[in-house]
């Protein structure tokens, strides 16, 4: 089952268990749009630093924190906090090509009173899964660039 099938079936169709277990680091997945990420290559400052590695490091730290905030906010039904964290995570995910995470965040931002707690919980679980997938892919990219 694809990511699109899982997220496009409406609220009832969200199935965070529809995927297999995350690929181990080093195995390419479609969690990250590499073309978009590699385009930042042209912004290199030429001071010996690697901008893409720096962006990945910042993203990995920040995304983990935002996902935790989203999970805690969903448990405590703090929708304003949940939407704010989802909004920030969507921005950085979208720009770095972490598409699935960005799409799930967008859905979390659109949640309203008509969505059941189960739907929110399912989406948060899906976000945790996709975020783990993307982090593994980004960590592999980082490792390759450092080598």
């Amino acid at each position: 089952m694809s990511f699109d099938q899982v997220t496009n079936n409406g609220n009832e169709g969200i199935n965070p268990h529809a995927f297999a277990t995350p690929s181990p680091p080093g195995i390419t997945s479609d969690a990250v749009d590499m073309e978009l990420l590699n385009a930042f290559e042209e912004l290199q400052l030429g001071d010996g630093s690697d901008l893409i590695v720096e962006l990945i490091d910042l993203y990995l730290l920040d995304a983990a924190q935002r996902v935790t905030e989203i999970r805690e906010a969903s448990i405590e039904t703090e929708w304003v906090l949940l939407k704010r964290a989802a909004h920030t995570l969507r921005g950085s995910s979208g720009s770095l090509g972490v598409r699935h995470v960005a799409e799930i965040c967008e859905r979390l931002e659109r949640m309203d009173g008509r969505d059941s707690p189960q739907t929110v919980a399912d989406l948060v679980r899906l976000l945790e899964y996709e975020s783990a997938m993307a982090s593994a892919s980004l960590a592999a990219v980082r490792q390759r660039r450092l080598n």
């Binding site: 962006l55 993203y59 920040d62 921005g91 979208g94």
Partner: protein, 142 residues
């Protein structure tokens, strides 16, 4: 002529205020600003940006995220447009909300440019180039 050039350089601030709570965005934006040989003055949220602007107006431009903790980007723009010493600073609003209404509100509050997220490296570079260029012409016109 040399004196004139020196004076012009002295009176043109080469600093850009960057206000965004997202560290990835901050890093991307500041990298491009450094490429343009400007200095980035960073604020991690709206309140921090407001505090900086209370005492410092020497900015060539400001790049502000729409949604930030403590103080929203729109409120920050309104503050900048209400203060005489900050009025001349061109402002680019960055937002992950792609909503025509929000874009309109940004421009009516006084934004010079609007960049929706997600953006490509090329879009970000062009937007910053345009903003810094606008800054120069705005100062020339003033």
């Amino acid at each position: 002529m040399e004196n004139f050039r020196f004076k012009l350089k002295q009176t043109t601030p080469n600093r850009v205020l960057v206000a965004d709570d997202d560290p990835v965005m901050r890093h991307l934006v500041t990298t491009i600003i450094k490429q343009r040989e400007c200095e980035a003055v960073v604020a991690n949220d709206g309140r921090e940006a407001y505090r900086i602007l209370q005492t410092d107006s020497q900015f060539r431009a400001a790049i502000i995220d729409m949604t930030m903790p403590f103080l929203e980007g729109l409120d920050l723009i309104r503050y900048m447009r209400s203060e005489r010493r900050l009025m001349r600073i061109p402002i680019m609003m960055i937002s992950a909300k792609q909503d025509i209404k929000l874009m309109t509100s940004s421009f009516s509050a006084g934004a010079t440019a609007f960049l929706p997220k997600p953006f490509t490296s090329e879009q970000l570079q062009s937007a910053i180039r345009m903003l810094l260029g606008n800054g120069s012409s705005a100062r020339r016109a003033a």
